[in-house]
């Protein structure tokens, strides 16, 4: 403990000396630069993918502006302050999810939105994408690492409730992302490999048992279609067949901006939302996609650096989980559009059109910035 204290002091001195304007504003320059690069790239691709729709572009740009402001505000809060309010936010978030489920059923159909006309309209499941890892980080940060069995069980309980509620909406994609983000906190916290392996070992026989004894034929058919969309070319398979043709025909260098035939001839459905990577790949080729992946990797690298350098356990766990979940978004989206993974509705971060996901993502990066720039309070404790 003593040596720690000494080192923190010296770190603080170092920070004081190097404190730039950005740091005093609690903004991380590297992250901000990469985000701006992504955003401007996004607008270029969106212009093409939306069929030169300027209204859409303007909406996306303003969402990005709002998201940046939100990120800036989030970054001002100390991680310790966040940790204090996380449990309440979790309870509120779960309450809203219950409300959505109940209202959705009353409205005779699925809904994911809380809508108070004229006041606010948002998806509680989006909110949960940040609250979920924060809650587990808050819970585990107070225990010893690696987590003991009891703590793992409690964490799983905390994860399963919102997961089930979102699954009921029904929104399989988001619910899986939520479960993943919670699991990442456990993983970073040092969840023993034997638990991870036994969980994997348990899932396989359960799945096989379900397949033979529980699922009915039509349910099996659904699972098969989900796993192999090309067996259903009139439904979800259509998208995959078309997006693969779009990506493949892009080649190494692409057809050029605004010159993608698949996307411009309306072959590609949802070309400006979930399937936007196909437009990028068609028009900018393998090189374009690799550049995008590079920007993503730099963002993730920066996030992991922040994780390692964070001075509190809560900060470390939360920053690490948010960063790795971010990568999952990228991987799942590109994997799905290129036909590697089943089709679940996951947008491509910062590139796909859609204000809600943009704002949530930027809020997540606001947390990373907060973790990184509030480095003094550790020594004051």
């Amino acid at each position: 403990m003593h040596s720690n204290f000494d080192r923190s002091l010296s770190n603080e001195d170092l920070l004081r000396r190097r404190a730039t304007l950005l740091q005093r504003l609690h903004v991380d320059g590297v992250l901000l630069l990469l985000l701006l690069v992504l955003a401007s790239g996004s607008l270029f691709i969106l212009y093409s993918a939306s069929g030169k729709n300027l209204d859409l572009l303007l909406k996306q740009a303003s969402s990005f502006g709002i998201g940046l402001v939100g990120m800036f505000i989030v970054a001002q809060f100390e991680p310790r302050f966040m940790a204090r309010w996380v449990p309440l936010a979790y309870v509120v978030g779960v309450g809203l999810l219950v409300a959505v489920d109940v209202m959705g059923h009353n409205a005779m159909g699925a809904t994911r939105w809380i809508n108070i006309p004229g006041v606010i309209r948002f998806q509680p499941s989006e909110f949960m994408k940040i609250i979920m890892p924060a809650t587990i980080a808050w819970y585990l940060a107070k225990r010893t690492l690696p987590p003991r069995f009891k703590h793992i069980v409690v964490s799983l309980g905390l994860i399963v409730v919102p997961f089930a509620l979102i699954l009921l909406q029904p929104d399989l994609g988001t619910s899986l992302l939520i479960i993943t983000s919670g699991f990442f906190v456990l993983f970073i916290a040092g969840l023993q490999w034997r638990w991870i392996l036994s969980a994997v070992a348990a899932v396989v026989p359960i799945a096989i048992g379900m397949w033979f004894f529980v699922l009915r034929d039509y349910q099996k058919q659904r699972v098969l279609t989900f796993l192999n969309p090309e067996s259903d070319p009139l439904g979800s398979g259509w998208n995959i067949i078309q997006s693969k043709a779009a990506i493949g025909s892009g080649g190494v260098w692409g057809k050029g901006w605004l010159l993608g035939t698949q996307s411009h001839l309306d072959f590609l459905p949802e070309s400006h939302t979930d399937f936007i990577i196909a437009v990028l790949a068609e028009e900018f080729g393998l090189v374009g996609v690799c550049l995008l992946l590079l920007v993503y990797l730099l963002l993730i690298a920066r996030g992991l650096v922040i994780t390692v350098q964070a001075q509190t356990l809560f900060g470390k766990l939360l920053a690490g989980a948010l960063t790795m979940t971010f990568f999952v978004y990228v991987f799942v989206n590109i994997g799905m559009v290129s036909g590697l993974l089943p089709v679940v509705g996951v947008p491509l971060p910062f590139i796909s059109y859609g204000g809600t996901s943009l704002i949530t993502l930027l809020a997540g990066f606001g947390i990373l910035m907060s973790v990184h720039t509030h480095r003094k309070w550790m020594t004051q404790a």
Partner: protein, 631 residues
């Protein structure tokens, strides 16, 4: 692997997290490599393949609609067939300015602005990109030729062969089998978009509607390459559709035609049921209509004529026609009275020509104003004596009556597979309180006893009630489908059999019905005398309640349409029932005079062979059944 420790050790925690982050970095890099490998495979290895697909040619997924299941009668005679027909389709994306192309179509075929508007509406309903939308059906040879000559002016327009439903028997089965029609926008919202992606027709009424899921089948598809003009170059992959299941009906085309002839042009309804199986052998609602024009879209004028006709050909009298059952329910009332213990077969009632409730002066009249004197059950059914049944109803009371008649199927849907059957009405105290906010009056019980008052039944319900007399209470829901691809239909909500205290009560009721036909003073003895077999039957009269307002026709005709409906229910042979029939003749006035001969003609058609003799298989079993005469 680090062991759990109680004390917080920041150094150790940091190390652990650093380790895990390194694992994360490795995973991220590996998975990114997987993505790049996948993209490399698609964009470099398969580049040529995908370029061909995307640039020079277009791949399309075309749904192949399944062939709709056929419908046969019980002897394999086809009732609903699929006939090839040529349709004109338009693919919006290939037509360029499709509105202009439609103008050319209209000009080439010499059609008017009405058709133009209809075509436009159909094109706008197109669902998927590059899906050809049929705009005109049943093209003639000349129309096909005209389109072919002008093909160069008609981008995106094609003549395609499709299978279209055809009903070779026309109007004979319009009310039982129903028809298919074009999918409308409302149906489009509820249908599975994938399964119906190639289908343009859906069952609208009758069997076609009820067994839509079975008849439709499963959609197939083919992936095709087309050139820039939309011509199919080759089929890449084909998955065959699964044809719909064939439905074999229990209906018999010959019996159906005989039954329609028996009505001899009068308006009315006939239902014939095979008691042992619940199979409906004939189902007639006259007048009827030809369902074929409905398949491809009936013209507005033609439809208006059908809809507004005073004879109401679109009205399904069997399933939706509501009539007070009149005296036809007296045998069931008698059985109910015996089982309830309010009468015995020997109970006698004195009939002075009317009935009075104790303490009331109102006279409830017998149809025979002079009275029949002292009557027992047998005689009361034979003569359709009202006074006897007033007394029986009064003793039984509304609650028990409601209970028994409900068990006979009145006031509820009885069929297994008939679309849009109506409930009818079997009144009760609760019903009246809810409907009129009034208590039940004893006088209402009396008139229910002779099938008048609030009671409303369909010809199908009456047929089922008399079938229950024939089967001694064995409940099988009447059904039109004998088998669906070989499997019989399953009743998911079977009704309980009617179990009487003493099964011999059935014989009392049935004997009364036999006396109606064959007794010395039976109301339908004229018909009974001419039969080669014993019939058990009962006549009834349904008063015409209302007539549609605003109709203009001459005085005599109005009077005719105010006449009572004639009802008759019967089964035969009386001791070995093979067929149960209910007949309703609109404005026929006399149940035994008009409806009973129709019943007998239907029975003759089923029971007699070509030589006019009772078919051997229907002959009464030798001394198998002891004569049941309760007297």
């Amino acid at each position: 692997m680090p062991q759990p420790i109680r004390l917080k050790d920041h150094e150790k925690d940091g190390r652990l997290i650093r380790q895990r982050t390194v694992v994360g970095v490795v995973a991220v890099l590996l998975l990114t490599l997987v993505l790049i490998a996948r993209l490399y495979y698609l964009q470099v290895v398969q580049f040529e393949h995908h370029t061909t697909l995307a640039e020079n040619n277009r791949i399309h997924v075309q749904p192949i609609p399944p062939t709709r299941g056929l419908i046969f009668d019980r002897n394999g005679v086809i009732i609903a067939d699929n006939r090839p027909s040529f349709s004109l389709t338009l693919t919006r994306e290939r037509a360029g300015d499709w509105a202009q192309v439609l103008d050319v179509v209209v000009e080439v075929l010499g059609l008017g602005p009405d058709e133009r508007a209809l075509f436009e509406k159909r094109v706008r309903q197109g669902r998927r990109p590059f899906e050809p939308v049929p705009v005109l059906f049943e093209l003639s040879e000349e129309q096909i030729a005209r389109i072919a000559i002008n093909q160069f002016r008609l981008p995106g327009v094609e003549v395609v062969a499709q299978l279209v439903r055809y009903y070779p028997h026309g109007e004979h089965f319009a009310h039982s089998v129903g028809y298919v029609g074009r999918i409308n926008e409302k149906e489009l919202k509820t249908l599975d978009p994938v399964d119906y992606s190639g289908t343009h027709h859906i069952g609208k009424t009758g069997i076609e509607r009820f067994y839509e899921n079975e008849l439709h089948g499963e959609v197939g598809y083919e992936e095709v390459e087309t050139n820039a003009r939309g011509r199919v170059l080759r089929v890449l992959k084909r998955t065959d559709p699964l044809p719909g299941k064939d439905v074999v009906l229990s209906l018999d085309v010959r019996l159906q035609q005989a039954a329609e002839q028996a009505l001899a042009g009068r308006r009315g309804a006939i239902v014939a049921i095979q008691p042992q199986t619940g199979e409906v052998l004939a189902m007639v609602s006259q007048p009827s209509f030809d369902p074929n024009p409905f398949v491809t879209g009936i013209g507005f004028k033609a439809y208006a004529d059908l809809r507004d006709s005073i004879d109401r050909p679109l009205y399904n009298r069997v399933l939706r026609g509501l009539y007070p059952p009149g005296s036809t329910i007296k045998p069931m009332m008698a059985v109910a009275g015996l089982d309830a213990g309010v009468v015995t077969p020997q109970t006698r009632v004195f009939d002075p020509g009317f009935y009075q409730l104790p303490g009331h002066s109102h006279k409830y009249r017998n149809w025979n104003r002079t009275g029949d004197g002292s009557v027992n059950m047998d005689y009361a059914i034979m003569r359709s004596n009202d006074t006897y049944f007033y007394e029986l109803a009064h003793k039984m009371g509304i609650d028990r009556m409601h209970d028994y008649m409900t068990r006979f199927g009145l006031g509820q849907r009885v069929s297994l597979d008939m679309f849009e059957e109506t409930n009818g009405l079997m009144p009760s105290r609760e019903w009246k309180r809810a409907r009129y906010r009034q208590a039940w009056y004893p006088g209402e019980t009396l008139i229910l006893g002779i099938g008048q008052g609030y009671m409303q039944t369909t010809p199908l319900q009456l047929a089922q009630a008399v079938t229950l007399m024939a089967t001694r209470g064995k409940w099988i829901r009447p059904h039109l489908a004998k088998s669906i691809q070989g499997a019989p239909p399953v009743d998911s909500a079977p009704l309980p059999d009617i179990a009487l205290r003493d099964p011999s009560f059935w014989d009392n009721g049935r004997h009364g019905m036999e006396m109606v036909m064959h007794g010395p003073r039976g109301t339908a003895r004229k018909v009974g005398d001419s039969a080669l077999y014993r019939i058990a039957g009962k006549s009834g009269t349904a008063q015409v309640v209302a007539i549609k307002q605003g109709e203009k026709y001459d005085r005599s005709k109005v009077a005719e349409r105010h006449r009572d409906h004639a009802l008759f229910v019967a089964f035969a042979p009386a001791d070995n029932p093979q067929i149960a029939v209910s007949v309703m003749v609109e404005n026929g006035e006399s149940g035994s005079g008009v409806a009973a001969p129709v019943v007998k003609q239907v029975m003759d058609a089923w029971l007699l062979d070509e030589q006019g003799q009772l078919k051997a298989e229907f002959a009464p079993p030798m001394a198998a059944e002891v004569p049941r005469n309760a007297q």
